[in-house]
Amino acid sequence: MIYDVTVIGAGAIGTSVAYHLCKKGFSVALIDRGDIASGSSSHCDAVALISDKAPGLDTKMGDASIRHYRELAESFSYDFEYDRKGCLYVCETEEELAAASSYAKRQAADGYDMKIVDAKTMREMEPYLADDLLGGIWTPGDIAVCPYKVCFAFVEEGKKLGLKVYPYTHISRIRLSANRMVEAVETDAGDILTKRVINCAGVWAPDVGKLVGLDIPIQPRKGMNLISEQTKRIVWHKVMEFGYMMSKFESINFRRNVSSLVEEYNVAFNIEYTKADNILLGGYRGFRGFDVRSELEAMQAIAERGIRFYPCLKGINCIRSYAGVRPYVKDHLPVVSAVDEVPGFYIAAGHEGDGICLSPITGKLMAQLVAGETTDFDIRRLRFSRFTEAQRTA
């Protein structure tokens, strides 16, 4: 048989794209060289937020995705631990609070439910929070999901619609016809004949791109978190420091009064509870190639920064650290696009730390692109051709 579409990569993006294509009636094969959710999507945190997005398209996609998560949670029989816990950004200084206020005002003006809360309200919401903080941004609609369960859920629901899954399958070649149309994906499990290929391989998308002669500018950016023992509830929402924005968008020029270690590892406090009552404490981002080993100094800096905001963490045990790589793109926008040079070849990758958040909307938009429909909103800025155009003008 000839598949309508073959999706490469069974993480948060690939599984969603595969599911949404099945939903449109396409015949779909989903390939991964390992297990479902064995890459970045099981080595990350568990939230989908609009409150960490740049105003504009970034926030618009986040908001649409979070709404879509809600619909999926209601319609799927597979439980992916959807939890509308809300997100609280906390500010240490007047300077941060002023920046936070203007950010929240801008987002509220665009129609998003986001507001500034004072220190007293914040303490009522999070009684274990350090008592010297000045206030924060409260975004009630932000959610958490279990990221690898999201992948399993898309696969299981996709199978009901005819999705064929090829885990532990290695690709050796993507065969193109004489006129450079996608024809087949050659694997160690045999040739998979297909009309289209969608590259959803995240940090490994450049490797897949090379198979058809493309240079995809995605780099691995490491992220690391700590996990606590199961403990009594000390945190009720997703809580982050405003300085997190700084660690995410390196272009924001903003200095915090922190130790040299916290500075060196670019550590930004963020915390969340999980359904199993562990605490996830983060985080750090850095460029270390594909090295995902835990770094002791980074662990120390994360613990230090966590205790600054939640002093009671001092006595709670850390049982594990983990790290993964996020697919980083310089302009902080993912690629959700057809590729003009290779008819039938598409890319949905490069979401960096927003892959879990943007998984549902990316799947939906990609299915619309493949079906030749008008996308829910204008995604021209996510085109792959922006890189080649940038090269030409450079």
């Binding site: 297990d35 006595g315 850390c318």
Partner: protein
């Protein structure tokens, strides 16, 4: 040993209270190694980080999938080796917290 060697109702992962039956279910859902089982049913995610259950999980994988011990893999080794309070961890960098 038959695949029934470990009874279905035996608690394999004590920390997360996961039975042999649940581990077999995870294997039926596609888990092929220790990490795949862990991700599907949490066996090995608790306080002891799989120190108790990993060998049992490996054994069940060997029996169900007729594979060798090496193919079952191991959970990724990650610090800390033992549970350590965040306060101790932070003090390690010379901070007086």
């Amino acid at each position: 040993m038959s695949s029934k060697g470990i009874p279905d109702d035996m608690l394999v992962c004590r920390c997360e209270e996961i039975t042999a039956d649940e581990i077999r279910q995870a294997i039926r859902e596609g888990a092929r190694d220790v990490t795949g089982v862990k991700r599907r049913v949490r066996a090995g995610m608790g306080l002891c980080q799989g120190r108790i259950c990993e060998k049992f999980v490996q054994q069940i994988l060997c029996q169900e999938l007729h594979m060798g011990l090496v193919q079952t893999g191991r959970s990724t080794a990650r610090p800390p080796v033992r549970p350590v309070p965040f306060g101790e961890l932070a003090r390690g960098c010379g901070n007086d917290l």
